[in-house]
Symmetry: C3
């Protein structure tokens, strides 16, 4: 397997050289009104969101990183799952655009009273809400909500299904730090099976023409993942030798008890990125969606090295979310 994989890498690697066409088709217009997943976005849709995001990324460098274009909008953040950085990132994006923001979390909610999701969302809609950002542990919830209401639905993570704004910020960060996505060689390392971040990234990267390899313990690689257009490897060394970007995923500590990997130490031995890797393969860039388990997915020094763009990912997340909110609010093309 390892040999074959390498060959495939080698053969297709040349595509990286080709310049990526960045010009949008002249007849293109962004017609999406929701963001359920990247599966429903065309390559042009994704490129267009990223273009707009680069404009907001500049706004964030200004002394006053605000652009109150959503002053007339009301947004509800509907978080049925705990979250820090995603919720904070959305909330900051919304406030800097001047929207009225209301937070709703399952802990203080009618969920406990047994109200159906449909009734909850239709009630919220009746309060004249423009957009709903939803995170839920069950895959398909954002899709279901979209059928219930007229408000724009933005998926902030649904079970192991999709987490599209995370993938958009990851792809934006690759473009910004590494270069054209077409032909880019990306390895995604870790628990591929349970990750919505991976699914959205694979879908987006493949649409934009990247080559993607997923790398992890056999227990954590979904069957038939190849049908998504990726290759599978269990050999980290080989992947790092090949790739332009190595994206390490957070390992959920509770998986150990589920028998998916023997111990954190052994996981680190086999799939952790170390300083030795950085020295041995001087070209790849390190990414991680956070929160990092330092010493597990990444060595401490790797996380803090200038090969890692983990904090850029966070800043870019803000820009990407501003762009998504802007476009879904019915605004078109900033510039």
């Amino acid at each position: 397997m390892a040999k074959t994989l390498y060959m495939w890498f080698h053969e297709t690697g040349e595509q990286t050289m080709k310049a990526e066409a960045e010009v949008m088709p002249s007849d293109y217009s962004f017609k999406q009104t929701h963001l359920i997943g990247l599966a429903g976005y065309s390559a042009d849709d994704i490129r267009f969101v990223l273009q707009q995001a680069s404009y907001f990324r500049e706004v964030l460098n200004r002394p006053v990183p605000k652009l109150p274009t959503l002053r007339d909008k009301t947004i509800v953040n509907l978080f049925y799952e705990n979250s820090t950085r995603t919720r904070l990132s959305f909330e900051l994006a919304q406030k800097r655009m001047g929207a009225d923001v209301v937070n709703f979390s399952s802990s203080s909610s009618s969920v406990k009273k047994g109200e159906s999701l449909k009734d909850t969302i239709r009630n919220i809609e009746s309060m004249k809400i423009d957009m709903v950002v939803v995170r839920h542990e069950s895959p398909g919830v954002p899709q279901f909500l979209r059928r219930c209401v007229n408000a724009s639905i933005i998926n902030a993570g649904d079970g192991a299904h999709e987490h599209p704004t995370q993938a958009l910020l990851d792809i934006f960060s690759m473009k910004q730090s590494v270069g054209n996505i077409k032909g880019l060689k990306v390895v995604i390392i870790g628990d591929i099976l349970h990750s919505r971040v991976v699914r959205s990234n694979i879908i987006g990267l493949i649409k934009l023409g990247a080559e993607v390899v997923v790398c992890g313990p056999k227990t954590m690689i979904p069957l038939f993942v190849q049908e998504m257009g990726v290759r599978v490897s269990h050999n980290l060394e080989e992947c790092l030798a090949w790739c332009n970007v190595a994206m390490a995923l957070r390992i959920q500590l509770e998986r150990q008890q589920g028998g998916l990997f023997p111990s954190l130490r052994e996981y680190h031995e086999t799939f952790g990125i170390t300083m030795k890797h950085l020295e041995r393969y001087p070209d790849f860039t390190v990414m991680h969606p956070g929160p990092i388990n330092r010493g597990v997915e990444l060595d401490n020094d790797v996380a803090d090295s200038d090969r890692a763009i983990i904090l850029d990912q966070v800043t870019n997340g803000l820009a990407v979310r501003m762009a998504v909110l802007y476009l879904l609010s019915g605004r078109r093309d900033l510039g």
Copy 2:
């Protein structure tokens, strides 16, 4: 009993025909500075709030449903009991009127440190707060707070006492969808004993000249409820044949363990509104304060039928709360 009730219904039913005088007395002025309950509001006060609410209801239909008339006000939402829709509705009303809003919930509070309610509220007032919206599991808390501080107090539900903004939005919705309140025939169905929603509705509806019947299991009807001016029935069929509006109350599932009703299924058999009821009695309108237990108080199809105005109630709640906030802030008559 059933016969007598019907007779009474029939006799007084004619009042519905009389046109309701909507003109306010020329010397009327709104002098309330708090909203503790509808018991403390005159019929004219209630009519005046509803008039103002109809203005805000129009605002909510605008492309930008905002009216920043409370830009100079600070409001604290003091929720000692969990709540979704009421808290969300108040918070949205406040934000759309431009107020500074701070939320305080018992879970993250000094309540746990054993601070007295009086000290908590006087501390909050010392931070130069204009209005306090309070929900508490003990009846009388808003009344008590009113005596401690100068800020305007708005009761968002206190134990089984009152929930005045809910009743105002219910009455507003009846007016909007069914017609004049004077002579309107309203049946309220369910757990009358434990419901603050019922108490406020009865007080408000009787003041405005509606006829009210309460209908539920004997274990859930308070003794002497007739002294509030209502009639009691245990026969849903008869009530639905008579009424213009049927308001079903949420059944608290924990009451079953308290022995107040045998099972949800039996409750539904006797007091649930079904599609057959809608067909048999084509005139009454269905209301519910939410959250609905679908299949218990209302059949699924009843809740979603065009005879139900449940989502209008939610939108109207926003308008009513905007009006209350506006009037209690010292503003007068939008015109």
Copy 3:
């Protein structure tokens, strides 16, 4: 001991007569960019913050108590410990100055996912945050955060270390209600050992030339506290006879189980301030940082008497926090 203490009190008491020089040195400029503790602030820094606070205190008396000088700033309130009044006070100060505010509490956070504090704060900083207000149960956290990020850090209480804005508001309140701090005789009563409020107050008061006595059970007085420049007493009566200001500290009820005092009743007998004290010693002013255990640290009537300035402390807290936010945002001297 009692005799000696009294003598010392008597001898130094005359300093109170001297007028305090309020004019700032002509070459003074405020150079702080964080507020970790009063230990890092010079006497002039403290005086300057208090001067600015008096300006904001006037703003709070205006019909519209707002001054939107932080419209371009984003502030995160990072509360790892429950808090009502401190969090509310900071949040109100921020909103009245027009800042964008995002709250982050440990209950809904990555903390549970085991993310390091350093990664959390650096992530937050990557979202282009200007200031972070942090409360944490571990002493040293604000200091640690300061080394990790460029945003301004404001300590809202770290373990038993410091709570500088509380001390600033206490000193501001003394100045406002009692007079010059230089020579002022202050007794702080209660659990000196576990209190961050005491530590910050002692540091600030001593820097400004006050005389401070700490008074409490021997189990609650830290060894070597005298090295901070204070005297120790275990005799409340004597302290109240001497002081201009008596600041009672909240007793943590859980300390009783730790064996630090026998019972609330006995604590009250020995260290509680009663109406008899107020009558016997007509000059001292009563302070308390809240929340009060009524009947323990203070008699009910003492807390509500006009000798107590407890609610003024709360209002002044808002003014002091506005001043701190203003100055640390890079603004200088309101004039």
